[in-house]
């Protein structure tokens, strides 16, 4: 499996057994053994992995998300690497979706939503004055929890984005290519004029992915894309994600830990604090987070003790 794994800065380079970056932790992951009465490092916050600048797609710097005066997400700092699948997991209500939606300024659409801190996309602060959220969203696409194809034909669903972006080339070709990349072309190639809503759930979601791809984005954000789908459709989407990773950077929110463990390269675990704001507990290469979590809370979550 040739996956372009970014080699992060400051690591003792190549021959890591896990092939991933090193995590510097603030405290030693002591033997967490309750029977011996050892007090675990309860609030140890592992520093998220860093990557070389040309591999960084998103950099979050102390990002907090507010709805009016209510803080939904507190002080998140992390980096999202290029052409990888990064999963955001955590118990429900901990702000994962809010965080994800701040990546493409979808929260702008909610009255009273605002952020503090910075979120840089390829080095540019996307909340800076003069940046238009419409352009941001063309480059950073989104697939939603419940498939939401437009009540139009399949063709028109895919063509809408490019059309408003001013695409002047061969639309038929673009539509076909997008549907191919979303692994939907064979299913729909002879019924492009039929309504998008006539497809099955899994197909609708792939249509939404094709629609997002058609504007040729750089990043695809996925907000629990499989939670409304049956297991078979879910697996197909996960396969698709692995294919898409070649061309796009993917950030996925999921409440399904097995999915994160199966499908992602990096995982960030968030949880809700006492102030009911979500915060980042730990981020690491997926295999590492699930087998050797640095933080007690992470371990509790992935072993099902809460959430």
């Amino acid at each position: 499996m040739t996956v372009h794994t970014p080699v992060p800065t400051g690591s003792p380079a190549e021959h890591e057994p896990s092939g991933g970056p090193t995590i510097r932790v603030m405290t030693t992951p002591a033997a967490i053994d309750e029977s011996e009465g050892i007090e675990p490092a309860a609030s140890a916050l592992a520093t998220p992995p860093t990557f070389p600048p040309e591999e960084v797609v998103f950099e979050l710097d102390g990002l907090s998300c507010f709805y009016g005066s209510f803080r939904a997400v507190r002080d998140v700092s992390l980096q999202v690497p290029r052409n990888q699948i990064t999963a955001l997991i955590g118990p429900s209500g901990c702000g994962k979706s809010t965080l994800l939606r701040s990546f493409n300024r979808m929260n702008d659409l909610i009255d009273g939503a605002r952020i503090e801190g910075e979120i840089r996309y390829h080095g540019v602060d996307i909340y800076e004055a003069g940046v238009d959220p419409v352009e941001v969203r063309r480059r950073i696409g989104m697939v939603f929890q419940k498939p939401n194809p437009f009540p139009k034909s399949i063709y028109d669903n895919v063509a809408f984005g490019p059309k408003v972006a001013g695409f002047r080339g061969n639309m038929d070709q673009l539509v076909e290519e997008s549907l191919r990349r979303a692994a939907l072309w064979d299913d729909v190639k002879d019924k492009l004029k039929q309504p998008g809503t006539a497809l099955s759930g899994g197909q609708q979601q792939r249509l939404c992915i094709a629609r997002a791809i058609a504007v040729e984005p750089d990043v695809i954000l996925m907000d629990e894309p499989c939670s409304a789908l049956d297991p078979i459709a879910t697996l197909r989407i996960e396969e698709l994600m692995r294919e898409l990773r070649e061309k796009y950077t993917i950030v996925i929110v999921t409440h399904n830990m097995q999915q994160a463990a199966r499908a992602s390269d990096y995982t960030a675990f968030l949880t809700m604090g006492e102030d009911r704001a979500g915060h980042l507990v730990e981020m690491a290469p997926t295999e590492q987070l699930f087998t050797r979590p640095a933080n007690r809370i992470t371990e509790d979550y992935i072993t099902g003790r809460f959430g």
Partner: protein, 305 residues
């Protein structure tokens, strides 16, 4: 107390109670009373329409085409409603041209663009209140603003503007409801691929809401067709005049179908009773056609994708 053969076992008592059915006399009386209310209304409708039709029959049997095509006259045998028909149609056209774009535009702003600011809430409340203002007050507004201040005089245009202002709040409210019914997920999806707000509205929201908007606006035009009081205030003629060309009516004397009905109601001669009824029949037919169109459209497009 001796146990006699007339005492029932528990089992029998229960069986009796459960099987007694809806034997609740007072409940039946209530249900009957409520049904009676509905039947009274039905009876009123039947009597009203029946009475009008019977009165109008002689006119339609005698001189139907002449009635529809003649001008007003003080002589019943010659009186007709063509000026009213022309006037009403012209008024509706003016109302549609003015009230629909402005009303739909205002609704789009309030539902799609405005944030929940005090100003927006003020506008919304204001529109709801405007919808409840008596139509004659709109007539006063027309008289003061259009006839006098803007100097349009007692012309058909002033009448049309007055009716347009009357109908505007209704158009806004029904359009807002139609827009609110559009699922938020469609907007989200459009924004998600980088569409601007107008692109989203134009390509997705408006097409989805179009049947509802259409129904609401057609119904409001039907309402405008039957309005009389405001027209009287701004100078629609309740009397006779000779011209039957629309061009003349735009700048001078004009009337509308309901205004004719009003004028003729006041005439005591029996022949005019028949004429009034005939005019009412025409009026009702038009209004019913307009409403039926609106409802047909609504039912046809109700099955969404």
């Amino acid at each position: 107390m001796a146990l006699g053969t007339d005492t029932l076992t528990a089992r029998e008592v229960v069986a009796q109670r459960l099987r007694s059915g809806s034997g609740d006399p007072r409940g039946l009386v209530l249900q009957g009373a409520l049904l009676l209310a509905m039947l009274v209304l039905l009876a009123v409708l039947v009597v009203l329409i029946g009475d009008i039709l019977i009165r109008a029959l002689p006119v339609f049997l005698d001189r139907p085409v002449d009635f529809l095509g003649s001008a007003l006259s003080s002589r019943p045998a010659r009186a007709g409603i063509v000026q009213g028909i022309l006037g009403s149609v012209a008024l509706i056209v003016i109302v549609a041209l003015i009230a629909l774009p402005i009303g739909i535009g205002a609704a789009v702003y309030l539902e799609e663009y405005a944030r929940d600011t005090p100003m927006a809430r003020l506008i919304r409340t204001n529109i709801r209140n405007l919808a409840g203002v008596p139509s004659i007050v709109y007539g006063l507004l027309g008289l003061a603003m259009f006839v006098s201040t803007l100097g349009l005089g007692k012309t058909l245009i002033a009448g049309g503007l007055t009716l347009a202002v009357l109908v505007l709040p209704i158009v806004v409210i029904t359009t807002m409801e139609a827009l609110r019914a559009v699922p938020g997920s469609i907007r989200e999806a459009a924004f998600g691929v980088g569409a601007t707000r107008w692109e989203t509205i134009r390509s997705h929201v408006l097409p989805y809401a179009a049947p509802g908007i259409l129904t609401g606006t057609i119904l409001s035009l039907g309402r405008a067709f039957g309005e009389t009081a405001p027209l009287l205030m701004v100078g629609a003629i309740a009397g006779t005049f000779t011209s039957t060309s629309v061009g003349d009516m735009l700048n001078g004397s004009y009337t509308a179908l309901p205004t004719i009905v009003f004028d003729w109601s006041g005439k005591p001669q029996d022949e005019f009773r028949a004429l009034t009824s005939a005019a009412i029949v025409v009026l009702l037919v038009v209004i019913l056609l307009i409403n039926a169109t609106a409802i047909l459209l609504r039912n046809r497009y109700d099955r969404k994708w």
